[in-house]
Symmetry: C2
């Protein structure tokens, strides 16, 4: 019988010791390691594709959904993409050792607050094997050891990717124990990882809303809640209709499966009769299934568009699909009331030409990112210039919004004296 707690404990101890080689490493050493991994991935693509074929065969014979199979699949092009991502992360500025604060106290003590790695970071994620490489890259670059617990459906692919990365590390100054594969045969390793407080510094979940919820509910290890996005687009009475339609359609349909896609449209009642027919027909022509309140249904009916009655559950659902809720509200505060009730503090957008309304919406919206006259799709590390992203936090502690390299560090105070006492 596998003792999951022991697996995690041993992995964490090795990772902790490997952390010393990371702490001792320069940015140039970490950069070199990432570039070496990138070229090794392309060199060894046959080995990776062979492992992936095992996972794909198992997926097909177990009748995995086509969309899931697509996420699991690796191709030469996808391997090249992973290698490209590694090279990009390699060249980003070093997040370790940045000085956040510096001062000299009247008693002569010199205070410096600096960034440093968390230490041992666990990732719990689903299907896509490229997360194995993306996450390892960000963690390695930021000086953290990585415990990678992917999906059992991608076990063969993940294992070979970790093996290749470790083989490359073994030829560098960084210990190969800085990247570790955590077996995914059963749930017990996840549970053990989430309870390894003191051994693991941070666990980041990446995947479905259920996975994230499970991690957040169960973990005693510090964790960052990522991703769940019930995002709203509020069309104000002072909105430019052309911008409003473009932003609405882009927010909903550009990539419905991701967390920064919009799930609910809220329209100010004083423009509802004019704007709603345009909005509903645009959504309808993009194949979006609609759920609305009674007032919206009335307007829809007059315009021959089918809108189901939105339930409490609808308003709170992250569809991740071409499906949307539509409601009519009296003003900015009513829009915010709705958002506070059903939102997930991810991204909220207002379309308005009225600066005062925009400011009121910003002040009250209480989320990771507020968009004024822009698509909700811009809450994204790459779009916002972070260079790389390990996830989007929608909690308020530590990082909020896209998390890049800087967010994978903590800080320490270094206090230098010459014998000062109190």
């Amino acid at each position: 019988m596998v003792d999951a707690a022991q697996i995690i404990s041993e992995a964490a101890q090795k990772a902790r010791l490997a952390g010393r080689t990371l702490v001792a490493s320069t940015n140039e050493v970490r950069r070199g390691a990432l570039i070496a991994i990138a070229s090794e991935l392309t060199t060894q693509s046959d080995r990776i594709l062979a492992a992936n074929a095992i996972d794909m065969n198992r997926a097909q014979s177990s009748g995995m959904a086509q969309s899931m199979q697509d996420r699991l699949l690796l191709t030469s092009a996808r391997i090249t993409g992973m290698a490209e991502g590694l090279r990009q992360v390699a060249d980003l500025p070093d997040p370790v050792g940045r000085i956040i604060n510096q001062r000299t106290l009247p008693n002569g003590l010199k205070l410096t607050q600096k960034t440093l790695p968390f230490g041992v970071v666990g990732m719990v994620y689903e299907a896509r094997p490229n997360v194995t490489v993306d996450a390892a890259a960000i963690l390695l670059k930021s000086g953290n050891s990585a415990l990678l617990r992917g999906s059992s459906s991608a076990a063969a692919s993940n294992l070979v990717l970790v093996e290749i990365m470790r083989e490359v590390l073994s030829k560098t100054l960084i210990s190969s124990d800085a990247i570790q594969y955590i077996p995914s045969d059963d749930r017990s390793t996840v549970t053990a990882l989430l309870h390894a407080r003191g051994q693991v510094d941070l666990v980041i979940p990446r995947g479905s809303a259920e996975l994230i919820r499970m991690v957040v509910d169960e973990a005693t290890v510090p964790t960052i809640e990522t991703g769940a996005g019930v995002c709203h687009v509020y069309i104000d009475d002072a909105a430019d209709f052309t911008k409003a339609i473009a932003i609405l359609i882009n927010s909903k349909t550009d990539r419905p499966s991701v967390c920064n896609a919009a799930e609910t449209l809220l329209v100010n009642q004083s423009i509802a009769n004019d704007f709603m027919p345009l909005a509903l027909s645009a959504l309808n022509s993009h194949g979006v299934i609609l759920h609305g309140d009674a007032a919206t249904q009335r307007i829809a009916q007059e315009n021959g568009i089918s809108v189901g009655l939105a339930t409490e559950e609808n308003w709170a659902t992250e569809y991740n699909a071409l499906e949307m809720n539509v409601g009519i509200v009296t003003d900015v505060v009513a829009a915010i009331d709705h958002i506070q009730k059903y939102g997930t503090h991810h991204t909220e957008a207002i379309v308005t030409e009225n600066e005062e309304h925009a400011n009121q919406f910003i002040a009250l919206s209480d989320c990771a990112a507020v968009m004024v006259n822009a698509s909700t799709r811009f809450t994204d590390g790459e779009q916002m210039g972070f260079g790389a992203e390990i996830g989007i936090s929608n909690q308020k502690l530590h990082a909020r919004g896209p998390m890049g390299l800087d967010q994978m560090t903590t800080t320490t105070w270094i206090v230098r004296g010459n014998g000062q006492i109190r």
Copy 2:
């Protein structure tokens, strides 16, 4: 029967709505409210002392320990002290609305990352009623609503302090629901508070190690682990003995009951024969009870000083008293190995004149604050120039080390466009 979940839910809802008046308030309004509370506390000191007398009577008749009674006691001087603290917090710079990041993207989007309040913050704390006022001041100043769950032993004192603060707020633009007393009759309100995820943004425990452990283990609401401090002083082979003795004695004896006091002395073996007799006799003359490893015991015996054999439990204990562990280690790395095994990532000190040893200790010590040739007692918000402190974090997420006003904020990204889509 009291339904604790409902008490917390109602309090949190009121606090959330009151948060809108805080978000709308200027720094001047919040400052004025704090100054008004300060003067009202002194004006109403008879009312406060009368309430405190109820708590003190109950404490005496239940046979509460004298040291606990002293923590519970309020006097005119202590009320003046609370008022003074309020005025200090009132005059600190506004932590809300600080711009952390600002950039314009190639597509014209203007990004601004700003600080804003968490929203609803719960405090769970023990005996001392002044925490009620100190915590409310920091939370109010940083724009957060406060749910205050103090100890049942201080119930009458805490209630009247909250009443006075609310009375003052009712005459300002800030809703009095921004400060709320949570009943402490039984444990159920703590449990409910710790599970009010989505309703409460953050819970901060303040008190004993057991309280903090319970909060961290049980909470599904985000929390910040504060305070537990098994701090070490490592005397390097390149130490100046005069500085070393002064720092050792100050770290252990200046105020043994607090978290930044030292619990363990580690001495480099190559100076042990010379340094240890000085250290042990200095500690002994300050009445410090000693536990040591075998090598230390041998030196102690030669010098006629009593040192018990340190157990595994000793090395991991935060004594909060005049009691200390003493060990001999081979070098900086061995000292760090010991610290990683038994420490709590709070404060570690090295005494050395060797810059390389200092840097190695800093790089590997993995704690909130590292002292080089200075007392561990300097890990303190006021000493480090924070102005006020709500606790000392020894976790790595969000804030690490002393937490002042800035640490009681989160951030949001404000993205302004003119119709941008992806």
